[in-house]
Symmetry: C2
Subunit: 101 residues, 2 copies
């Protein structure tokens, strides 16, 4: 049986409203972790946890600048997620109803 853990990791980024709120913030442009902590009313280590999930999905990338980390939306990550979404949910060319009867 196929292992879908890589795909699950992609969409894990999008299945939580706090992470969606973070993405919404990143839509406005590259954002520093400390700004996200303030805007999201979230603890430092909780933010770090969510950012890890977002980065693991490929949808967000991190850029280190001195001691600060800046996060932004990844075009590549978005395109890949979009491609997989369609692949995972589009029926095969020849489909065959399966029923127990």
């Amino acid at each position: 049986m196929t292992d879908f853990s890589k795909d699950a990791r992609i969409f894990k980024a999008l299945c939580d409203r706090k992470r969606l709120a973070i993405l919404d913030c990143l839509k406005g442009g590259e954002t520093c972790a400390c700004v996200l902590i303030e805007k999201m009313h979230i603890g430092q280590s909780a933010l770090s946890y969510h950012m890890k999930i977002l980065c693991d999905s490929g949808i967000v990338t991190a850029r280190q600048e001195g001691k600060w980390t800046h996060y932004s939306l990844s075009v590549t990550g978005r395109n890949y997620a979009s491609k997989r979404l369609l692949e995972l949910t589009t029926p095969n060319s020849q489909t065959q109803a399966k029923c127990c009867k």
Copy 2:
């Protein structure tokens, strides 16, 4: 602050590998619950739980036929999910880096 619970519900369908395996089965065509139980090696009530999440996302639809329930992929659901994915992850036209410095 915007409420993203509706969007989270969509992608919750895709963030679990068991549900992705179910979708993979549905790609082959409309499938009866009893067939899914066998193929997925899952209990009846666990399947019912996952199918509820899949239907709530809009990506899957259920069709009742007598006492049997048949599940299939929804074109409308897929298109909406795809649209939202892009909307949620595409930067705004004018972006502005935000940093604490």
